[in-house]
C-alpha cells in the first residue's frame, strides 16, 4: 500500500478535470492529485532554474502553497501547467535574487554545488554542468530564467513569455543578451547554443 493510499482524501475542486493527454479527461482534480501530477514538472523546472537540488523542496512547497490559494479560481484546467510554471519561475527568480544579495552582503564569493543537480551523471558531465551554472550566475535572474527555459527546457518563445509574464520580444531580447554574455566569456554553453 502506497503512502498516498493510506491518507484520507482531501477536499477537491469539482470544477477541475485533468486534461493532459496522459490521463483520463474525466478524472477529478483535487489538490493532492494536482500535486502528484505536476510536482515532477515543477521540480524539473525548479532544479534547472536554480541549479541546485537542495533548494528545490522549498521551491516546490512555495509554488504549491501559492497554487493552493488560487486553485479555486482556476477555470481552465488546461492552463494549470502553464500557471504552475509561471509561479515556479517567479519564485525561482526571487530565490536567485535573494541568493545574490546574500552573497553580496557577506562579501563572499558564491559557493556553487551545481553538481548536485546532476548527481547521477558522469564526472565529465558534472564538470560541464558546474561550469555552465558558474557562468549562468553572472546573468541577471530574469535573463537566466529565459535562457534556461529555452535551452534546457526547450520551450517555445510563447511559453517562455507566458511563464516570465513578459512579451515575446522581451524574451528574445533577454536570450540575445544571454547569448552575448556567454559568448563573450567563451563558455561552453555559448559554444553549445551556437550550434545549429
Amino acid at each position: 500500500m502506497s503512502a498516498a493510499d493510506r491518507k484520507p482524501p482531501r477536499p477537491g475542486y469539482s470544477h477541475l478535470r485533468v486534461v493532459d493527454g496522459s490521463a483520463s479527461v474525466d478524472e477529478r482534480l483535487d489538490f493532492d492529485s494536482m500535486f502528484r501530477r505536476y510536482s515532477p514538472y515543477v521540480a524539473s523546472v525548479g532544479v534547472r532554474l536554480l541549479g541546485r537540488d537542495d533548494e528545490v523542496d522549498d521551491l516546490i512547497q512555495d509554488v504549491f502553497l501559492e497554487a493552493h490559494r488560487g486553485l479555486s479560481s482556476v477555470r481552465d484546467p488546461g492552463a494549470i501547467k502553464g500557471w504552475l510554471a509561471r509561479i515556479c519561475v517567479r519564485r525561482a527568480v526571487r530565490r536567485l535574487r535573494r541568493r545574490k544579495l546574500r552573497a553580496w552582503l557577506s562579501f563572499e564569493s558564491l559557493v556553487y554545488e551545481p553538481a548536485s543537480a546532476a548527481i547521477d551523471a558522469s564526472p565529465e558531465t558534472r564538470a560541464e554542468v558546474t561550469r555552465l551554472y558558474y557562468e549562468l550566475e553572472k546573468l541577471p535572474a530574469l535573463v537566466r530564467a529565459a535562457w534556461v527555459l529555452r535551452h534546457l527546457e526547450g520551450q517555445s518563445l510563447d511559453d517562455i513569455a507566458a511563464a516570465c509574464t513578459c512579451s515575446k520580444s522581451t524574451v528574445q531580447r533577454r536570450l540575445r543578451s544571454a547569448d552575448a554574455v556567454l559568448r563573450a566569456i567563451g563558455s561552453v554553453a555559448a559554444g553549445v547554443v551556437n550550434e545549429p
Binding site: 502506497s2 498516498a4 524539473s44 532544479v47 534547472r48 516546490i60 502553497l65 546532476a118 527546457e153 547554443v193
Partner: protein, 486 residues
C-alpha cells in the same frame, strides 16, 4: 537559435540536470505543503479572532465612555445632596438613567423637588435627579442642562427648577416649575422643543430666549430667533427682542397681577395681531370668571363666534382627557390618517391648538376626510390670526384651491388667491397665486379684474409657465391662438 520561435530540442546537457525524484520525496513534500497550509489557516483564524477582539474592545470602550458621560452628569446633578457616590454606583450597574427613579429617590430624595414618578430629570438648587428618560440629554448639572444637539438650558437663581419630561431626538418637553431659565436652542425643524410654564407653553423654533415663571404669569423674552407662546387666550409669536407676560395684561385678572406686571406687561411693539383681538373678545365674554379655566372658555366662545368651529373650552367638556385625545389627533395627523384625526377633532374640538401648525393640521384632516367647508374655516383662521406666520401664504393658497375646485366659489377663491399673493408677493407661491386669481376672477365673471390681473401677471412673469392659460383667462388672446402658441 533564438531566431526560431517554436519549441526546440534542449541541450544534451539538460538530460543530466534533473532532481532525484521519487514517490517518497513527493509524498513528504505533499505532507509538508499541507502542514504549511494548515499553519496559514491557523494564522488567519488567529488574525480574525484578534480583529474581532479589538473591535469588541473598542465597542465596549465606547459604550463605557458613553455611560460614563451620563454617569458624570447624574453625579453632578445629585451632588447637592452629597449622594454622588451612591448614585454613581447605581447608574454604573447598568440601569442607566432610565427607570431608576426609585433607587435614586431612595438615596437622594431629601430635596424638595424630587418627584417619585420617574418621569424626568429634575434639576434645581434644592433638588436632585428624579428619574430617567434622558435620551437626548447630554449633561445635567446643578444650573445647566445640555442636550445632545447642543441646545442648553441655564437656570438663573436658586429658586429655579426645571423638569425634563420628554427628551428624545424628535421632541423635547421641559417644564419650568419655578424661577427663571434661559434657553439656547439649536434650530432643528425635525425636533419639537416645548417649554411648559404653567399658564403658557412656549414652542421653540430655534432661538435664544428666557422664561420667567411667577405664581400666576409667565414672562417670555426672546433674545434671538422666534418662539410661539400658547396660552389660555391664544397664541402669540415673539421674535427678536420682543418680550411679554402671559397671559397678557388684558386677559389677566387684575388681582392676580404680580408686582412686576407693570413692567412685564409691556407688549412687544408691532406684535399685536388678530390674535390679540380674539383674546380681547374672549376676555370680554369671560367677565366675572377670569381664572385660567375661564379664560379658556372665553377663547372657546370667541372662536365659536369667529369661525363656529371650536365650541367649548376644555374646562367645560371634560369627559375625555384632551391631552390624550390631542395626542391621538397629532398621531393620526402625522401618519396621514385624516379620517381618524378629524374624528378626534369632532369628539374634542379643543385638540386643535391655536397656533398655525395645529390649524393647518386640522385643515388637512378636514379636507382629506371630505370636509372641505370645515377645512376652509381652519385655513381662514391661519390667514387671519397668523398673517405673519410663514405658512400663512400657503394656507391662503390652499383656501383658494378648495373654494375653487371643491366648493365652486370662484369669487371667494379669487379673494383667497389675492390674499396669498399679498402675503408673500416675492414668495414661491406668488406666480401661481396670481395666475389662479386671474382664472378664478374670470370664472366668477369679473372680466375686468381678470384682464387687469392677466396684464399684471404677464408684466411680472412674461415667460411664466402659466402665461398661456393666463392670457386665455384674461381674454388677452383667443383660445385658438393660445393652443397654437402652446
Amino acid at each position: 537559435m533564438t531566431s526560431r520561435e517554436g519549441p526546440m530540442k534542449p541541450l544534451p546537457l539538460a538530460a543530466s540536470i534533473a532532481p532525484r525524484w521519487g514517490t517518497e520525496r513527493r509524498e513528504r513534500l505533499l505532507d509538508a505543503v499541507h502542514g504549511r497550509i494548515e499553519r496559514v489557516r491557523s494564522l488567519r483564524r488567529l488574525a480574525t479572532l484578534a480583529t474581532v477582539m479589538v473591535a469588541l474592545l473598542l465597542g465596549v470602550g465606547f459604550a463605557w465612555r458613553a455611560r460614563s458621560t451620563n454617569h458624570g452628569a447624574v453625579a453632578s446633578a445629585t451632588g447637592v445632596n452629597g449622594a454622588v457616590t451612591g448614585v454613581n454606583g447605581f447608574v454604573g450597574n447598568g440601569a442607566g438613567v432610565n427607570g431608576s427613579a426609585t433607587g435614586m429617590n431612595g438615596f437622594v430624595g431629601n430635596g424638595a423637588g424630587v418627584n417619585g414618578s420617574a418621569t424626568g430629570v429634575n434639576v434645581g438648587a434644592n433638588n436632585a435627579v428624579a428619574g430617567g428618560n434622558a435620551g437626548a440629554v447630554a449633561a445635567v448639572s446643578r444650573q445647566e442642562v445640555r442636550f445632545s444637539d447642543g441646545s442648553s438650558v441655564h437656570l438663573l437663581g436658586d429658586d429655579a427648577a426645571l423638569d425634563i419630561g420628554t427628551a428624545s431626538p424628535d421632541a423635547v418637553e421641559v417644564t419650568l416649575r419655578t424661577g427663571t431659565a434661559e434657553f439656547a436652542i439649536t434650530p432643528n425643524p425635525r425636533r419639537r422643543f416645548i417649554v411648559h410654564a404653567g399658564v403658557a407653553d412656549v414652542s421653540v423654533l430655534g432661538t435664544q430666549f428666557r422664561v420667567t415663571r411667577t405664581a400666576e404669569r409667565v414672562r417670555v423674552e426672546v433674545t434671538r430667533g422666534r418662539v410661539s407662546v400658547t396660552y389660555a387666550g391664544g397664541t402669540r409669536l415673539l421674535t427678536d427682542g420682543e418680550s411679554n407676560w402671559f397671559p397678557p395684561a388684558e386677559l389677566a385678572e387684575p388681582t392676580l397681577g404680580d408686582p412686576t406686571s407693570a413692567t412685564g406687561s409691556t407688549s412687544a411693539t408691532g406684535s399685536t395681531s388678530a390674535t390679540g383681538a380674539t383674546s380681547a373678545t374672549g376676555a370680554t365674554s369671560a367677565t366675572g370668571s377670569a381664572s385660567a379655566t375661564g379664560a379658556t372658555s372665553a377663547t372657546g366662545s370667541a372662536s365659536a363666534t369667529a369661525g363656529g368651529v371650536s365650541p367649548t373650552g376644555s374646562g367645560v367638556k371634560g369627559t375625555q382627557d384632551p391631552r390624550t385625545e390631542r395626542g391621538r389627533f397629532l398621531e393620526h395627523a402625522s401618519r396621514g390618517e385624516y379620517a381618524e384625526a378629524y374624528a378626534a377633532i369632532e369628539r374634542t374640538p379643543d385638540v386643535v391648538g391655536n397656533d398655525a401648525g395645529d390649524l393647518l393640521r386640522a385643515a388637512d384632516a378636514a379636507r382629506f376626510s371630505d370636509h372641505p367647508r370645515e377645512a376652509t374655516r381652519y385655513l381662514e383662521r391661519v390667514v387671519h390670526e397668523h398673517p405673519r406666520d410663514s405658512v400663512a401664504p400657503l394656507a391662503a393658497f390652499t383656501l383658494g384651491r378648495i373654494e375653487l375646485s371643491q366648493l365652486g366659489q370662484p369669487a371667494k377663491a379669487a379673494d383667497a388667491f389675492a390674499r396669498a399673493f399679498a402675503l408673500a408677493p416675492g414668495g414661491s407661491l406668488a406666480e401661481d397665486a396670481l395666475a389662479r386669481e386671474t382664472e378664478a376672477a374670470e370664472l366668477a365673471g369679473e372680466r375686468d379684474r381678470a384682464r387687469q390681473l392677466g396684464e399684471q401677471y404677464l408684466a411680472r412673469y412674461p415667460n411664466g409657465r402659466r402665461a398661456d392659460s393666463v392670457r386665455k383667462a384674461a381674454g388677452l388672446i383667443d383660445g385658438k391662438a393660445s393652443s397654437q402658441s402652446r
